[in-house]
């Protein structure tokens, strides 16, 4: 990778993350690598490394982190939070980073499409006539969507 100039990075990014809900533990990390050792994702996808993600956030590598694909790989298994001696709560932290990324419109296209579906239908798929017919055969009431309610909830 090309050399990165620290002068061009954003030192305030770590404070932004730390003040986002879930990111409070960022500055407590002392890079012991327990999270990385416990992470099942890291076993198969080496570029997903919790410790390195924390370091990148601390160094202010905002663009590199938010535009990356690997922050979306977390399976939210909470193994990292279990082992962390500093109570960084990395799973919450990566949620915070993902939230920041989606605010900056950096989320993957699939996820954004899912968000659209959720907004539109209140589910990750549309309930069509086909489903309601099946339901009536089973003696269940039909599902009626209320898009305005979903929008107000979200």
């Amino acid at each position: 990778m090309a050399r990165i100039n620290l002068n061009d990075l954003d030192p305030s990014f770590k404070f932004t993350v730390a003040s986002t809900r879930g990111g409070e533990g960022l500055q407590a990390c002392y890079a012991c690598k327990a999270c990385t050792a416990a992470c099942p994702i890291e076993k198969t996808v080496k570029r997903y490394d919790p410790r390195k993600i924390i370091r990148m956030a601390l160094l202010g590598m905002k663009k590199e982190l938010l535009e990356s694909d690997f922050i979306w790989l977390c399976s939210s298994c909470y193994s990292c939070s279990e082992v962390c001696p500093q109570d960084v709560r990395f799973t919450e932290l990566i949620f915070a980073i993902k939230n920041l990324a989606s605010v900056e419109a950096c989320a993957p296209a699939g996820l954004m499409a899912q968000r659209g579906l959720l907004k539109e239908h209140g589910r990750l798929y549309e309930v069509s006539e086909f489903e309601n017919e099946k339901r009536s055969k089973l003696g269940l009431p039909p599902i009626v969507e209320h898009p305005e309610d979903y929008k107000s909830l979200l």
Binding site: I4, N5, L6, N7, P11, S12, K14, K52, M56
Partner: protein, 555 residues
């Protein structure tokens, strides 16, 4: 009991209570060193009613020192109660006596620009310079970008010095008011063992200071117009980075003051080299030196942080009070020189670890400085020094000299010579096991055992001889244990020589004086060993005794 503690060596002799003579100047104290350390000591000792002189050391142009303060012009010499120092005071040369001398010079801060290949400039400064700028309220160099980047270099060579880290922490904490400040610390092996230092370091990290800890891939510096570009591989991300800091702050190496040798070289008998005014013995981990009445504070013994220095100052005050409280001599014995035998060969002067021996027409042992280790007695080639009753020291002659060791009841037993500071204490906890098999002689220091005494023990009916001394580096008399070990090794070599070759063919140098009197068949039955131990390690002594018993049963 079966134990036979030799009656003539008294146990009441302690090094921490040096004794003053009648004509001593115990109320007068000389404090060498000009900055806050010296002033703090002076004010504390003045409060307890002592007459304190604060002076600068030799060969320093100490600008911080008060103009009217006297300046030392030569090395300090003498003994406790009667140290002599020469000064220039208000353009007059004077010489004054002092009861105590306290070495309290400030540390020497050595800049390290050359070490990293850097050049000092407006944007490249030492940490003391930055502290001075902050203290004086001077402005820092202008920022180039939006953020003000400060890079601190904290020892890229070895382990960092906690005192220097605490200086960095001071700087960063006091620069908090600057808007958009980002501090980076480039370090190698960061050490946080200082008062509250780990806590302060953690707070810095939590407040956004970035620490880069390098292992082998050290950063390099590239010249910019008025600063440097730092090129490095981030150790965690394994990614190349660069940083052009607005201010580059370099650590300094703290060293003991450079003039220790000139000022105190005459007093402290060992070679003053690296690092300070003390030897490696843990006994000297406080402010004591091997010379009674001379104390080392702070930087003169390699201690640089303020809190530990204040502890040192309190310890000095305590030690001085303690000596004044116990100024009456409680010893009944001290070594004395038989003038008719002394050849003024200066062996004792060279070897005395406490700097207590001077000479004119014969060697002269200073009673207050002497700490009764007995090394001079054991090493005198003329046998001219022996213990004598202390009240008969003046004009001593051989009739006052204390009798030799008595080995009459040693038949079939193991003779133990035990150092009172280590092995004798260790033996107390195991004496119930061995009390029927051993005869114990407690000695002040293993170094006081003469070759002749050991040979006498071997020549008695004893089955073996074991000498217990201190671990290497632990000896209160600096090297008494090593001297004794050397004697025992050469005796053992001589005995082996006697066994394998007739006397005369085994090489003269191997046979110490008196060894020839050892009968060959007698020597064969003996085992002679030296063991290093400490007061709390009786198991070492037990192992040595059982291995000797094993060897004896094998013979």
């Amino acid at each position: 009991m079966g134990l036979k503690l030799n009656s003539y060596i008294k146990k009441s002799i302690t090094i921490t209570k040096p004794k003053l003579t009648e004509d001593s100047q115990e109320q007068r104290v000389l404090v060498v060193g000009g900055d806050w350390i010296g002033e703090e000591i002076a004010s504390r000792l003045q409060k307890i009613g002592l007459d304190v002189t604060l002076s600068a050391a030799i060969a320093t142009s100490d600008a911080d020192l008060n103009q009217s303060a006297p300046l030392l012009t030569g090395p300090i010499d003498g003994q406790i109660g009667q140290f002599q120092a020469t000064f220039i005071e208000s353009d007059n040369h004077t010489s004054k006596p002092f009861g105590f001398v306290i070495a309290a010079q400030p540390a020497k801060a050595k800049e390290r620009f050359n070490l990293y290949g850097l050049k000092q400039s407006q944007r490249v400064i030492t940490v003391s310079k930055l502290l001075a700028l902050i203290n004086e309220g001077q402005p820092l160099p202008e920022r180039v970008g939006e953020w003000y980047h400060i890079a601190f270099i904290d020892d890229l060579i070895g382990d960092s010095e906690p005192t220097v880290l605490s200086q960095f922490v001071d700087c960063i904490e006091r620069l908090k008011s600057i808007d958009k400040l980002q501090a980076y610390v480039f370090t190698r092996h960061l050490k946080v063992a200082g008062p509250h230092l780990e806590d302060r370091y953690r707070k810095l990290r939590e407040n956004g200071v970035i620490f880069f800890k390098f292992d082998n891939n050290l950063p390099t510096f590239e010249t910019q117009s008025d600063s440097y570009r730092i090129l490095f591989e981030e150790p965690l991300l394994k990614q190349d980075f660069e940083l052009t800091p607005d201010l580059l702050v370099i650590d300094e190496e703290l060293r003991p003051p450079e003039d220790l040798k000139e000022t105190f070289g005459q007093l402290v008998p060992f070679e003053i080299s690296e690092p300070y005014l003390q030897t490696e013995s843990p006994r000297f981990n406080s402010v004591l030196t091997s010379k009674a009445g001379v104390f080392a504070v702070g930087p003169t013994r390699g201690i640089y942080d303020r809190q530990s220095i204040i502890q040192d100052i309190e310890t000095v005050e305590f030690q001085v009070k303690k000596i004044l409280d116990h100024s009456k001599d409680s010893r009944s014995l001290a070594p004395v020189v038989d003038k008719s035998k002394c050849a003024v060969c200066l062996t004792c002067v060279r070897l005395c670890p406490h700097g207590a021996i001077s000479f004119s027409d014969s060697a002269i042992i200073s009673v207050p400085s002497c700490q009764n280790c007995g090394i001079c007695i054991a090493e005198c080639p003329m046998g001219a020094i022996a213990y004598s009753q202390i009240n008969q020291l003046v004009g001593a002659n051989t009739s006052n000299i204390v009798k030799e060791f008595n080995f009459e009841d040693c038949a079939g037993k193991i003779v133990l010579f035990l150092c009172s500071r280590s092995a004798a204490q260790a033996f107390k906890s195991i004496e119930f096991i061995y009390k029927d098999d051993v005869v114990v002689f407690e000695v002040n220091c293993a170094g006081s055992l003469q070759t002749k005494t050991i040979l006498d023990a071997l020549n008695s009916q004893a089955s073996a001889v074991l000498v217990g001394g201190c671990f290497k580096g632990n000896c209160a008399s600096v090297y008494g244990n090593i001297l004794c070990d050397n004697r025992i090794q050469s005796i053992n070599q001589a005995i082996t020589g006697l066994e394998s070759n007739p006397v005369g063919e085994s090489g003269k140098s191997l046979i110490p004086a008196g060894a020839a009197t050892l009968q060959r068949q007698e020597a064969k039955a003996k085992v002679l060993r030296f063991v290093q131990t400490a007061g709390n390690t009786p198991e070492v002594l037990m192992r040595a005794i059982s291995s000797i018993s094993q060897e004896l049963s094998d013979l």
